[in-house]
């Protein structure tokens, strides 16, 4: 075999396919590396000028050329956290229902609608947020929270209807389809004999679901959550429409805030001056690293579930 020239080896379909698909795979890696390098180089000016204090200062003043990323990092993390707090229980609950409890007749059309929701453009969710969620928040939910839980610093201050909480809720609506869809797939891939064994040992349907199937699929479900988190961190349009676009750090979820993706989208087109532009690009770098790490974790988790699934299934 080794005596055959490269060209003649290439004539084998398998080899050609191997080379071509390898190039495709390599191009993805290349694009990612290029992205990081480009973001790193373009942000050289603010990195040198502000150093680590970029992450710790709160002032964002394009005129005085003072740039601090802290309020944006805070806003990004808080809205994503609120979104996950709402979306995780709802999403996993729905996934369990669809995978384990719902009859096929109900489960299939519901899954179709969930996939549809995942494909809705984010600006549509933003409009939904502005015209439906914001008024409901201002008129009912925020006053109600203030009256009942107002002693907590989380629910104080004027109720504008927009802010961290509203942005988190809109994000939750956006990421729930992801959690449901991926979790349902993972739950359905749990081998049938696992369920049968649990039922044979005398457990009820719910016990077999909650104590056997869900733990079995745990890493995969975690993967779906990380995927949702990455999406929540990077969402731009829907967030900027409901967050209030004010770089503040406040314990109150009623307060208007700002996220990294939103400030880049808002200010990039009119950013004059190299330092200003560089600061926005450095924000992009911060966001990229955050989502990159989380996405990587999610993929790893997915991989682990499938491997462990088949392994345990055979044992």
């Amino acid at each position: 075999m080794s005596s055959r020239s490269f060209l003649s080896r290439l004539r084998d379909g398998d080899e050609i396919a191997r080379v071509i698909t390898f190039l495709f795979a390599a191009s993805v890696v290349l694009v990612t590396i290029l992205l990081v390098v480009e973001l790193w180089m373009q942000s050289a000016l603010p990195r040198h000028k502000f150093g680590f204090s970029f992450f710790l200062t709160r002032v964002w003043d394009p005129i005085a050329e003072q740039f601090g990323a802290l309020p944006f990092i805070y806003g990004t993390i808080v809205t994503a956290a609120v979104a996950l707090l709402i979306a995780v229980p709802l999403g996993i609950g729905a996934a369990i229902f669809l995978a384990e409890l719902a009859p096929q007749k109900l489960s299939d059309p519901l899954e179709f609608f969930i996939d549809l929701l995942a494909a809705v453009p984010s600006v549509i969710y933003g409009l939904l947020g502005v015209f439906i969620v914001v008024p409901i928040m201002r008129e009912w939910i925020q006053p109600a929270l203030k009256n009942t839980l107002g002693f907590l610093p989380l629910f104080q201050g004027p109720a504008y209807g927009i802010g961290f909480l509203t942005a988190g809720i809109v994000l939750a609506i956006m990421v729930i389809p992801y959690i449901i869809s991926v979790s349902r797939e993972v739950l359905m891939s749990v081998p049938r004999d696992q369920r049968e064994a649990a039922l044979a040992l005398g457990s009820t349907r719910w016990e077999s679901t909650w104590k056997v199937v869900v733990p079995f699929a745990k890493t995969g479900i975690m993967g779906s959550i990380f995927l949702a988190l990455a999406r929540a961190l990077g969402e731009t349009m829907a967030v900027t429409m409901v967050i209030g676009n004010t770089p503040t750090i406040s314990a109150s979820l009623f307060s208007p805030g700002y996220s990294i993706a939103a400030v880049i989208a808002n200010e990039f087109t009119e950013a004059t001056g190299d330092l200003y532009l560089g600061a926005l690009i450095e924000l992009g770098l911060v966001l990229f690293l955050l989502t990159f790490i989380l996405n990587g974790l999610a993929r790893l988790m997915m991989l682990l579930t499938t491997q462990r699934g088949s392994g345990t299934g055979m044992a």
Binding site: I63, G161, Y258
Partner: protein
């Protein structure tokens, strides 16, 4: 299949031939505010001069300045004049200066949503600065109430709304506030994006308008054209002569006429708070940024031809699109300045 390929070839060849027949493409980029006006102009001009096609990308004023400085477009457009540093950078890179040509006028208007109040409110410059600095936080503050005798203003907190995206609208608004309030000038300054002392940010005119419509006791600023097209209520503003003037096409044009005496030869002038009784004080030019030297003479002549037409017949298209036209004094000055392009 072969026939299809043949047809395609012929079409391509013809297309290439037509393209080669001195079709001239001029590229520009910049401000979004005058985009509807510019696209109308470029379209009309193309109808008259079939050989000249002007392609304009409304990427924002900052982008326009950047692209024309880098030489990737033939001309730029901006809602705020280039500052001295930017001019120097251009000169250093190209070896010749860039010129400003005002095209139309725009204005910002204060708009508000106070439940139960439909009256047209009067705003003094002091009240506007106070509100946007956060010093004036209630609607019944004497600074607002004294200018609105007979209107029963509520004791509610004012919810300030501003633009969150960088924009020429914000530039005009903050330029006006910087002129009439030393406090504003020191603490905030003027620019397309600023560090707002108070308020919520809405994306675009529509974002600001949406927030104001939805939030009781809110106030903010939008472009005059946007307010007119969407039939939004807006207030009068006290001008430098002490008169409360409502923004309309005439009072905005008057601002340019009022500033004509003090207009520098490079047209880089702010006409906010301009003198004159009928002047609306929060008005501004928007500019084309044209290099003073072209290596391609046909391109130069075509662009000069367009600007000449725009200053003449072109101005007749402005009011249908709710842009205020240039006063004749400014047009005359610009026609003279055109000879600087070589």
């Amino acid at each position: 299949m072969k026939r299809l390929a043949g047809i395609l070839l012929v079409v391509l060849a013809l297309g290439g031939f037509a393209f080669a027949q001195n079709r001239l493409l001029i590229n520009g980029a910049g401000a979004t505010f005058p985009y509807p006006m510019y696209s109308k102009w470029f379209d009309e001009y193309h109808k008259k001069n079939g050989n000249t096609e002007i392609n304009y990308q409304s990427i924002g004023s900052g982008g326009g300045i950047k692209q024309v400085t880098e030489g990737t477009v033939d001309f730029g457009a901006s809602d705020g004049p280039m500052n001295d540093d930017q001019l120097k950078a251009y000169q250093a890179k190209h070896g010749f200066p860039i010129l400003h040509f005002p095209t139309v006028l725009g204005a910002d208007v204060p708009t508000y949503n106070i439940p139960g109040i439909s009256a047209e409110l009067n705003f003094t410059p002091e009240a506007l600065a106070g509100i946007f600095l956060g010093h004036i936080s209630k609607w019944n503050d004497p600074a607002i109430a004294n200018a609105n005798k007979g209107v029963n203003l509520p004791a509610n907190d004012i919810v300030v709304v501003h633009r969150s995206d960088g924009s020429g609208t914000t530039y005009i608004w903050t330029d006006f506030l910087s002129k009439i309030s030393g406090d504003w000038k020191d603490k905030v300054g003027k620019g397309t994006s600023v560090n707002w002392p108070v308020g919520l940010g809405g994306k675009g005119n529509e974002g600001v308008a949406g927030l104001i419509k939805q939030t009781p006791n809110a106030m903010g600023y939008v472009e005059l054209i946007y307010a007119i097209q969407n039939k939004m209520p807006y207030g009068k503003v006290k001008n430098a002569a002490g008169e409360f003037v409502k923004a309309d096409l005439a009072s905005v044009s008057a601002a340019a006429a009022g500033a004509v005496k003090t207009m520098p030869d490079d047209f880089r002038v702010s006409i906010t708070n301009a003198p004159g009784k009928t002047v609306y004080p929060i008005s501004s030019f928007t500019w084309l940024l044209i290099p003073s030297k072209f290596s391609d003479a046909t391109k130069r002549d075509a662009l000069k031809g367009f600007v000449t037409w725009m200053l003449g017949d072109g101005q007749n298209f402005t009011e249908a699109l709710a842009y205020a036209k240039l006063p004749p004094e400014v047009v005359a000055k610009e026609v003279k300045a055109l000879s600087k392009i070589q």
